[in-house]
């Protein structure tokens, strides 16, 4: 592979390698020319050890801005995204203040224009203050540039408000993204309800806390004929509900995180606060259902749910620790190591679910490898081994479940919207 990219006008770049672009049906050795950020030629080329793929899109990132810039900023979060191979990310609105007004959203959009390394979209809240009581001014938020609506971090508890939100969001072209959790079932819960919670005595968070809400929201979406997106699915029962709804023609999409695809609740026996997340890690049969749904495509997106936390917040007993782990910089390597290399998920499936799948779900431009397209490319060295360490992150936080793990597969270069944003 060769790569020379400068970001000036008239600059030209040539990249050669095994191109894997599932959405375009490409898997062959090619030579890609990029001029002024646009793919200008694709020709037969030498095969090399590197893989070139459409860059990734992460539909679920917590940038902690505004309010907790000690944990992440738009700049640090997008540097982490670039290092992870992402050409676009969507940020969650559960900040302080909540992104529930055009004023807060407008300031973020402006700041992202100035500081974001990769294109960043912002979701706005469904309810004011994410309190689940009154709808936000969705039309105003959409006009200001909202990417979608979500109360992520909290569920929309009231079925009535959820129905109104589905109906009213029709004034925009945006969809709702839902954190499905029935709080009266998850209250006091820290880990999946099952053998491990019973043995350790940790507060149980049963699968039904997610799946009854998934069932409710799919039923409402069906009756209102409105699309929705299910975030971070964790339970087999949720996948089954999604499959039934898709068979009935409900316009639903769904995402799954790397940690739910790789780990099970056995990991929490370590009582390491970096394996504590919401929804929790679940049983092997749940993980298998998620992997199967990912292969089949009923779950079409991989989302990191990158959730930075300050070190002192995680340096506490497991039970007191906040939910959430980082993931932008490790997602591809973790999934390549734990799903592709053992033959559980094909490389092209992984790339599709990290790139086109999330872009399609949110109506974003799909990263494409074709002449005339803006260059949104990731170059991957599948054989590179590396160890995840606390000082290796661009993110301001290091609460990764992979600390100390050795992974195979590394992002070498990321091109986002025609610019080289990461080169190792």
């Amino acid at each position: 592979m060769t790569l020379f990219v400068r970001n000036g006008r008239g600059d030209s770049t040539v990249i050669t390698g095994r191109v894997v672009a599932p959405a375009q049906g490409i898997d062959e050795s090619l030579r890609i020319a990029v001029t002024d950020g646009v793919i200008t030629a694709i020709e037969p080329g030498d095969s090399g050890s590197l893989v070139i793929a459409p860059a990734f899109v992460d539909p679920h990132v917590h940038l902690r801005t505004p309010g907790r810039e000690d944990e992440e900023t738009i700049r640090s979060g997008t540097e982490a995204a670039a290092a992870g191979g992402y050409c676009a990310i969507l940020a969650m609105p559960n900040t302080d203040p909540v992104v529930d007004s055009a004023a807060v959203l407008g300031a973020l959009v402006e700041e992202a224009h100035a500081t974001a390394l990769v294109p960043t979209g912002f979701m706005a809240a469904i309810s004011k203050g994410q309190l689940g009581e009154e709808l936000t001014e969705m039309a105003d938020l959409a006009a200001t540039g909202a990417a979608a609506f979500t109360d992520d971090g909290s569920p929309v508890v009231s079925a009535g408000l959820m129905r109104r939100a589905l109906q009213y969001s029709g004034v925009t072209a945006l969809r709702l993204a839902l954190h499905c959790e029935e709080p009266s079932l998850s209250r006091g819960g820290h880990v999946h309800e099952g053998r491990v919670s019973a043995e350790l005595g940790l507060g149980p968070y049963p699968s039904t806390a997610e799946s009854v809400m998934v069932e409710r929201d799919l039923a409402l979406a069906e009756s209102e004929c409105r699309p929705l997106h299910l975030m971070h699915l964790s339970a087999r029962e949720s996948v089954e509900a999604l499959d039934r709804a898709l068979a009935d023609g409900v316009p639903a999409t769904a995402e799954v995180t790397p940690h739910h695809l790789v780990l099970t609740d056995e990991a929490v026996r370590s009582l390491d606060p970096n394996v504590k997340m919401n929804p929790p890690l679940r049983a092997p049969e749940d993980r298998e259902a998620l992997r199967d749904a990912l292969r089949r495509g009923s779950v079409s997106c991989i989302a990191t749910d990158h959730a930075p936390h300050a070190r002192h917040e995680k340096d506490v007993p497991f039970e007191e620790a906040p939910f959430g782990v980082t993931g932008l910089e490790t997602a591809f390597a973790a999934l390549h190591t734990h799903l592709v290399e053992p033959g559980i998920v094909a490389l092209e499936t992984l790339i599709e679910r990290m790139s086109s799948g999330p872009a399609r779900a949110f109506g974003l431009d799909e990263p494409r490898i074709e002449v005339g397209a803006r260059a949104n490319l990731v170059v991957l060295d599948l054989a590179a081994e590396w160890t995840v360490t606390e000082d290796g992150f661009r993110s301001l936080s290091a609460n990764s479940w992979l600390l100390g793990h050795t992974l195979r597969g590394r992002v070498v270069t990321t091109v986002a919207d025609g610019r080289v944003v990461f080169a190792s």
Binding site: H190, E193, G194, R195, V196, S197, A198, E199, L200, G201, L202, G203, P204, R269, S270, L271, P273, H312, D315, V316, P317, F318, E319, E320, A321
Partner: protein
Amino acid sequence: MSELRLPPAPKRHLLSIADLDRADIERILDTAGSLAAALDREMKKLPTLRGRTVVNLFYESSTRTLASFELAAKRLSADTMSIRSAGSSVDKGESLKDTALTLAAYEPDVIVVRHPSIGAPQLVSRLTDAHVVNAGDGKHQHPTQALLDLYAMRDALGRLAGLRVAIVGDVLHSRVARSLVQALALVGGETVLVGPPTLVPRGLEALGCEVSHNIQAIVDADVVYVLRMQRERMGDAFVPSLREYTALYGITPARVRERQVVMHPGPMNRGVEIDPRVADSDAALVTDQVRAGLVVRMAVLYDVLTVAPVEASERVGVA
């Protein structure tokens, strides 16, 4: 060339019964037996841990556990001090991490930790060089309680293998029950958990015990182990009322058969989970348990300080 340095040996802790195997348990109980005999025969104080420091770090109220750890350290001639969260810098908002690092600066040999949150002793063991003994963390583990219970059972009934123990009541919220189930499985005891379905978590059968929601299941037990019914659980509607709980699961004279012994980790709610006539009967081993607590905690302090760590590779299935 620089000198090749071996990594420091792993510290022995007692964080969970899962840290032990059958031989460990038998050794600790035998040590406790020898200590009891020595205390009877000789003086009340042994020089065994002279020069060692034992710190008790207690973030939850406790009478018998704290008292017996303090006394156990003193009887072994260790220097000991107890830090309670109330009245310490914890009141001023100091984190567990900072408190642990502060205490570690005094280079204690053992830190005994009681904390309302699961994972607190694990955190202290990661942050300090001391041997850490878990004196109860949330609903997770209370390993020295399980060991003293085994000691009291063996003392009263002469054996542990094949012993049938019915654990009755609020298993869900009980670190005592979790520790005891695991410990009994290691020494070859049989366990049946008895309580309402809302208070016996599904999944514990995997540890090798039976589950019943009918009090009749205690009939063939050698030991009826009664758990404290925590009144604060009523708000969460685990049971509709204490009256109904007592009617269904209270241990009354009519429900205890001859030759059964009754145990309770304390503090008891007389008239709720245990009838006062049972609590005060000869069948009750409650004060034997308290006595066992002293010698077993002496044995645990001695054991973590003197027995070499087992190679990690020799341990299977340790959490």
